[in-house]
């Protein structure tokens, strides 16, 4: 298992710092569960800090998009910050950059929710 998820709440925003790989297997399963639980608890503002993500594969990307859909369906927001160049490239190729609200830093990401 090579994905570590650290959760904290800043200014009413649930920040998940992801560390490792978002890839097919336990990693995506755990991530999916985590988001599911947060949404079930009624969290509306979720920011994923992707600074320490070393790899995302196609399944990881699919999981991210489906988390975004689940959040929207519950009137919640899922946003991203600190995209590495690799992550940026994957989202660019698949045109998914337009789907997510992306901030360069976590602080800006948190701030974006109050706008």
């Amino acid at each position: 298992m090579s994905l570590k998820i650290t959760e904290r709440v800043v200014d009413g925003v649930t920040v998940l710092a992801l560390d490792g790989r978002i890839v097919l297997g336990d990693e995506t399963n755990e991530f999916r569960e985590k988001i599911k639980n947060l949404l079930a608890e009624g969290r509306k503002k979720i920011l994923l800090n992707l600074d320490n993500i070393t790899l995302i594969d196609s399944t990881g990307l699919g999981t991210l998009v489906s988390a975004h859909h689940s959040a929207s369906a519950r009137g919640a927001y899922l946003r991203l910050s600190n995209l590495g160049s690799k992550f940026q490239e994957v989202l660019q190729v698949t045109k998914l950059l337009t789907v997510f609200d992306v901030s360069p830093t976590e602080a800006e990401g948190i701030k974006s929710f109050s706008n």
Partner: protein
């Protein structure tokens, strides 16, 4: 003591009312069975309740048959009354009289030796339980168990083992129970004295005794329930069935994880089931009997465990066969004869990282000098992804009958979004090349192909849409560029650019781009070989996490 029957011999095992056994060969037919005289010359069962002329075993040269020759209480085969019936190995012949002889017909080569050994054990245990006799008994047990591990079918082995346990304990009934995911354990085998089969439906092993053995994780041997603990005495089934003696031996697989542990410390493996025996008479077990019971428990566990492993191995083989078929189908669905297209040279390769993969490509002509080619990459890998590639290929073949490609993309997108539990999407690139060099494409989230031209390397197809199956409202639009004769498109799946070396470094787009820079004049086969060789030397044999697919398209003009 009877002789050990040689291989391949036909005979009956005669079980006396007291439980002793002997083997009688059938050397000629009809084989006459009765109380006395010429009409019972092959097997005499001296008891007034049996007719002088009772039954016969006859043969037509190939099969054996049991015939009633006048047994006054009827003749029974496996508890069913018969007048003439073909015999098969292991059939139990009885005579409609309580507490009487039973015969077990034996025709198979292997079956003659194990019951023989068992009956030899039985004969000794009746007379001697200590000293040299006891040692001999254990020796025979060892011989028997080595046979138990031999070539017999599993049910026969387990049945024999249970019969042996019954004869060692002098029990009325013996059961082998297996755990199921929920509820009480399932009866796998139910046997009575003398190798008779009991129906599982009418059997009621004491769940209380079984539960106790499971909680203690060790055998329960109760010689007389009149002196047993209150919970066992009070157990409903024990009262209802007037049981006096109960033996429960839990079976555990040997743990394979603890090879360094000594035998004493060896941990118990998975729980496999229990051997259960009971009797309406109180029993008296010698220390040797108890040790034999323990040994039997270990043997039974090991037999079950081996059988389970064999079954797993068979299942794995079946799966592998199925996968091999899937692989053949997937490879057969790739296009053949790359050189048969007008104005266009094409070559391609698909290397799944597992047996089957989530990448595929296709090439076909559309008439009017147009050629269509597709490369697609389903998320995930292996069989799950492979199932979707065939669906995509089927849907996209609609282009050949004139359906607008963007409509097909849209349709696939809706289809996958509707079936969201599939949890898969795909990046796809479709190109259609005219004979005059007009290149029309739809890119659904796929990496742009590189274009090798005289002037250098381009990435002309970055414009595009979402992958199919992620965004329900995605729109798919086509774009167009113009190719010059000699231009070569290098289409690839991200397994190429994300190929990894042993230190997890990615091959990367820039490396591919640079490699292609020197290949403008090269043949397509050479380009393909160069790219594959480059990936191979980069990855240095590291196992790849994604399928690698390349499709090269050169516009000849």
């Amino acid at each position: 003591m009877p002789e050990n029957a040689p291989s391949g011999e036909v005979g009956v095992e005669v079980i006396a009312p007291g439980g002793s056994r002997r083997f009688v060969r059938i050397e000629e037919t009809p084989f006459l069975i009765g109380r006395s005289g010429e009409t019972a010359k092959h097997l005499q069962l001296k008891d007034p309740r049996i007719s002088r002329q009772c039954a016969a075993i006859v043969s037509d040269g190939e099969h054996y048959f049991l015939e009633d020759r006048g047994q006054r209480h009827g003749l029974f085969l496996n508890r069913e009354k018969v007048s003439r019936q073909e015999l098969t190995d292991g059939d139990v012949i009885s005579f409609g009289v309580e507490n009487f002889f039973e015969l077990i017909f034996q025709s198979a080569q292997h079956d003659s030796s194990i019951p023989e050994l068992l009956s030899r054990i039985q004969n000794i245990s009746a007379s001697d339980t200590t000293g040299g006799g006891g040692l001999h008994k254990l020796n025979l047990l060892l011989e028997a168990t080595s046979l138990l591990h031999s070539r017999l079918p599993l049910e026969a082995v387990l049945g024999t083992m249970l019969d042996h346990a019954i004869s060692v304990t002098d029990a009325d009934r013996g059961y082998l129970l297996e755990p199921v995911s929920q509820g009480p354990m399932r009866i796998r085998l139910a046997r009575g004295r003398g190798g008779t089969r009991l129906s599982a439906a009418e059997s009621a092993p004491s769940q209380t005794a079984i539960q106790q053995a499971l909680e203690q994780q060790e055998s329960i041997i109760t010689e007389d329930l009149a002196h047993a603990g209150a919970s066992l005495q009070a157990a409903e089934s024990i009262i209802a069935q007037r049981l006096r003696a109960v033996v429960v031996i839990p079976l555990y697989a040997m743990s394979r994880a603890s090879t360094t542990d000594s035998a004493v410390q060896a941990k118990r493996g998975e729980f496999l089931g229990v051997v259960y025996l009971d009797s309406r008479r109180p029993a008296a077990f010698s220390r040797l009997d108890r040790r034999i019971l323990d040994a039997l428990g270990v043997e039974a566990a090991s037999i079950l465990d081996n059988a389970r492993l064999v079954e797993k191995e068979r299942e794995r083989e079946r799966m592998e066969q199925q996968l091999a078929i899937a692989k053949d189908i997937q490879q057969a669905l790739l296009p053949r004869g790359f050189r048969d297209f007008p104005h266009v040279g094409i070559t391609g390769v698909n290397l799944p990282c597992l047996t089957v993969g989530g990448d595929y490509f296709d090439v076909f002509t559309l008439g009017d000098g147009r050629t269509a080619f597709i490369i697609a990459d389903v998320s995930g890998k292996g069989l799950g992804a492979a199932l979707l590639t065939t669906m995509l290929q089927g849907a996209l073949s609609g282009i050949r009958i004139g359906i607008e490609p963007a409509k097909i993309f849209s349709h696939i997108n809706h289809f996958l979004c509707e079936h969201e539990d599939v949890e898969r999407y795909a990046t796809m690139f479709l190109g259609i090349l005219d004979d005059d060099g007009h290149f029309y494409f739809i890119n659904a989230g796929h990496p742009s192909p590189y274009l090798i031209r005289t002037a250098g390397i381009d990435e002309p197809c970055c414009d595009g849409s979402f992958p199919v199956g992620l965004m329900p409202d995605a729109e798919f639009t086509s774009n167009e560029i113009k190719l010059a004769p000699g231009d070569t498109l290098v289409l690839f799946s991200d397994g190429v650019t994300e190929a990894m070396d042993p230190d997890d470094n990615l091959y990367g787009g820039p490396r591919l781009r640079e490699l292609l820079g020197g290949l403008h004049e090269a043949t397509l086969d050479h380009v393909q070989k160069t790219v594959l060789t480059s990936i191979e030397s980069f990855t240095r044999g590291a196992p790849q996490a994604d399928d690698i697919t390349l499709l090269l398209v050169r516009y000849r003009g």
